[in-house]
Amino acid sequence: MGNVNLLSSLNSQQQLAVKSEASPLVIIAGPGTGKTKTLISRIVYLIENKGTRPENILALTFTKKAASEMQERLNNPQNNSPTITTFHALGYDFLTSMGQELSIINKQEQQEVLTELLQTKFPLFKNIRLGELSLLISRFKNKVDQESADQSLAHLVAAYDELLTSRCLSDYDDLLIKTYRLITKNTRLKTTLQDRYQHILIDEFQDTNHLQYALIKNLLTPNNHLFMIGDPRQSIYAFRGTSDKMFDQVKKDFPDFQEVTLTTNYRSCRQIIDSSAQLFPGSPKLHASRSTTGKVQLIYTPHAFSEADWIIKTINAKIGGTDLIQAGNIQNNQGNCQFSDFAVIYRTHSLSKPLEEKFSQSGIPYQLVGDSSPYEQPEIQLLINVLKYLQNPADQYLKAVLSSPLFQLSSKTLWAVRVIQTDTDYPLEQALKTAVTQKNITQKERKKISQFQQYLQKLTQQNLPSKASQIVAQLTKIFQLAIRYQNKPSVLQNIQQFRNTLVQFDGIPHSLAQAVSYLTYLEKHEFYDPAASKVTLLTMHASKGLEFRYVFICGFEEGIIPLENKIIDMEEEKRLLYVAMTRAKDELYLLATRKRNGQLSAVSRFKQNLLTDLEETNDEAIARIEKKQQKWQEKKNQLTLL
């Protein structure tokens, strides 16, 4: 990238942010104003114009996906590239480079630890769901100032930490806490890091929590430069202890900060910018760079399936029909879009089921991002973990295989195995041998372990083929997947498809290693392939940072947007909706059903905010259904007359 080119493609506010020498530099900017572009431009500027060495640059963001994307957007071919990573990965790499052996606790194990604690010492917390408790603990651990916190929770966390330490385990929060402690205790270490990371840049700063922020502050000296860019209104991780007030904190801590605001939105048409801004009345307006008006529409539809149908119909119409019948019936089919121009966004994964069903039938290419991706299904996760284990027979992969829901081991058993391991220092295989002799594990569970050992034996005794796809075929046999899933054709198809995916590595040397590294790449991107020509189905959380020409937001209903929960953080829900709406470049569709899961639904309260110039229409399916019902009613009336 030529330097002249680089700056000339930026507006004057962005240029200011790229060139400024002030620190900390706080850039507050709305969606689509080029935050990520500016951050990346600054990295390039520092390296190419300022002679900064890439290894002196640290860029941080919040998800693996965002970090990978940033790396790709930067596209730096040099060996010594800047460190672009997430906070957790930074902590992990730092601790392991210090010679620490880290074993991260998985979800099942954590649940077991918590259950144990609740049963023995902390009955007080018994009526809180384990998932929620885990969040509470995480939030607690991420607070820097822990004095003010609830005392009973503090005790629970202390006991939890102690138990983990006794088993040489860490959770994700420990990665940061341990790093933080090491740095604050060890000044030499601290100076080494301060010398190394002369420029620290943080994207999506609004999602930083207190601990992360404290960590960063520790890396700062008057000579280091801190660049923070973000949008308080896109802060959507309150449940992880972040808040939209982080910027205020920075300003308080560093009174001589410089602030730059970016006010031109390059992404969306005016209508979309205006409509989404209405969620925050009185806030400063973004200036639309694009001249087209765009479109924001609210569509009422009978139920979840008609919602999916409406979306598919609309995509088909915009594409101009995907088969002969549609093509012949659509009047004006001279659009110019492609499948990757469309995204369907929902608040929670539970909404994706009917969508996926309908998309899958439609033949339209689509990809599910995150948890509901086919790769995330237990059968594929099992295969992936076995492949990883075959490639590198480390305990960590075998453990992942063992924890597969396929083997139905209770978390209690898994934990018992872990205890054996830490008490004896046995590798997992050995620990399993001990486990089958232990009385505190029920006989039923011990049987399951023996069963697992048999699989393992087959796995190690059989001569496995060298080609990745053939290995998968063999694994399918070894783990008897065809029998296990004989009544689930969709699962079998998923396995077949997975196998097909790996055939690409069959012809090349180190087939298995190549396949594993490809799968790891996909995993890092949460199974989202930005280059794919497919419609993207994803949650609001996963949509952050992305953009699409056409966006459909499903379930614009009370109970979903905002999500009905024990604790509703209404402002956070609003920000989430804001994030989703502002992904749209050209057209935005909000969809509300009349009935979902058989229950009457009411349109989202946030409709009130959007009232001005929101176009509302009914899906034709409503009229169709009403007509049917009317007919049926008439028939019924006639019957009663007779």
Binding site: I319, G320, G321, T322, D323, L324, A327, G328, Q331, N333, Q334, G335, N336, C337, Q338, F339, S340, F359, S360, Q361, S362, G363, I364, P365, Y366, S469, Q493, Q496, Q497, N500, T501, L502, V503, Q504, D506, G507, D529, A532, S533, K534
Partner: protein
């Protein structure tokens, strides 16, 4: 040897196909029709591909045959007259590419033919990342046709890529609605890699030869059958070995191995003329021009048919014929001839029975229609049929062109009187059972 080749068909995993579009059905009907090399179709579909691997086994290089036990079971049910016909399968698929290029939506159907199960697996896995392969045997991909071509040849250089039914308005390389104006425009620097095109039912080689660019490629014809009974509506005739590579190299070089094509009368195709199905308007290109391309009923623009579109792109006159050219044979499916003779539909029981009897007595359909001396047909007791086939072979037919998705009609006789006059009473005898 002479091989009749039909590479474009669909399995039951494609939309709007018959339930008995399976490998056994294709095998059976291939023998009845007299086709030697049949495309499997739909090899990107996981379930169909699994079935292909289960029911077919390798035969000559790059070709496959039905598993022996299945073949024997079917052969038992076939009359001796066709039992011995050679049937081989080639691995094929049709892909629907929907993408935008130069600010316009493009929708092209492309045919891909592969030499091995391994190549197919590799190709499928690449596509699986791009599209939804399990919803439709003819998968939709948001992929530029040019990229698909690259992917095809990268997967295996001996694979063949053929733009399908290149003139249909909605989904083809030259389609009036979302196609291109030249191979160059569609495939840019890779245009020379396009070695063959498929005529589709609505065009014949003569129409295609009016476009200078198409004189440089091989013209092939296939049935695009959605049920096994429709196999061989069109086909390609080769003089080659029973070997994938010999066949494909023939197609790629257009040398002597390509004898020619067997054609539908192009007017019978669904998109020959212009018009509006909903408004009952059928126009010749000239009429369309007189109406400025608008439908006199609804005033929307008419669906432009193949004839018109060929005129638009042609560099050569309507009556142009290359001095030397490949064989072009026109046929009317035997079942349609029989139906017309009996004044019944092709689905009528009597027509079906008659069809079976003719096959039983005379052999496979293509031999009867194309080659069998008329005298032999007569001598077997099918005097009327012999007369009808003479008319067909001499192209003495009456045509009502198809338009906007409505099949055209081809009649050997304009009226009942003529039919009666031409076919004397004795016809009936052979048929009634």
């Amino acid at each position: 040897m002479e091989l009749i080749v039909d590479l474009h068909i669909h399995s039951r995993y494609s939309r709007a196909t018959s339930k008995d579009s399976n490998l056994e059905g294709l095998y059976r009907w291939g023998k009845i029709k007299g086709i030697n090399i049949i495309g499997t179709g739909d090899f990107t579909h996981p379930a169909w591909f699994a079935e292909i691997q289960d029911k077919l086994e390798p035969a000559e290089p790059g070709l496959f045959k039905l598993r022996q036990d299945l073949a024997i079971a079917i052969d038992k049910t076939l009359p001796a007259s066709i039992r011995k016909n050679l049937i081989r399968f080639a691995l094929t698929v049709e892909i629907s590419n929907i993408y935008s290029k130069n600010e316009k939506v493009r929708k092209l159907h492309n045919l891909v033919i592969m030499p091995s199960v391994k190549a197919v697996s590799q190709f499928n896995s690449a596509l699986e990342r791009i599209g939804n392969l399990k919803a439709d045997g003819r998968p939709i991909l948001g992929l530029d046709s040019k990229q698909l071509l690259t992917l095809t040849l990268d997967t295996d250089p001996s694979a063949l890529f053929v733009p399908a039914h290149i003139w249909t308005p909605w989904f083809s390389m030259f389609g009036s609605k979302s196609g291109f104006n030249s191979i160059d425009e569609a495939f840019e620097e890779l245009a020379p890699e396009i070695k063959a095109i498929e005529t589709g039912l609505s065009s014949d080689p003569f129409m295609n030869w009016r476009i200078a660019e198409l004189q440089k490629v091989t013209i092939i014809s296939n049935s695009d059958a959605h049920s096994p009974q429709k196999l061989g509506r069109e086909a390609t005739i080769l003089q080659s070995q029973v070997d994938y590579h010999d066949i494909i190299n023939g197609i790629k070089t257009n040398d002597r191995r390509i004898v020619g094509t067997i054609e539908f009368f192009p007017q019978e195709g669904k998109y020959h003329y212009d018009g509006h199905r909903a408004c009952n308007i059928r126009f010749s290109p000239k009429q369309t021009k007189n109406h400025q391309g608008l439908c006199p009923v609804c005033h929307q623009s008419l669906t432009v048919g193949v004839d018109n579109r060929v005129n638009e792109l042609a560099n050569l006159a309507e009556d142009y014929q290359p001095k030397r050219h490949k064989v072009v044979e026109y046929i009317i499916p035997l079942i349609e001839i029989l139906a017309e003779m009996q004044e019944k539909t092709t689905a009528a029981k009597a027509v079906q029975t008659a069809y079976q009897k003719v096959i039983l007595d005379l052999g496979n359909e293509f031999t009867i229609l194309r080659k069998m001396p008329i005298i032999e047909i007569k001598d077997a007791g099918y005097e009327a049929l012999a007369k009808a086939i003479v008319r067909m072979r001499q192209k003495e037919v009456h045509v009502e062109p198809g338009y906007d998705g409505v099949f055209g009609t081809i009649k050997l006789f304009t009226s009942n009187e003529e039919r009666k006059k031409q076919l004397t009473e004795q016809i009936g005898l052979g048929w009634e059972t």
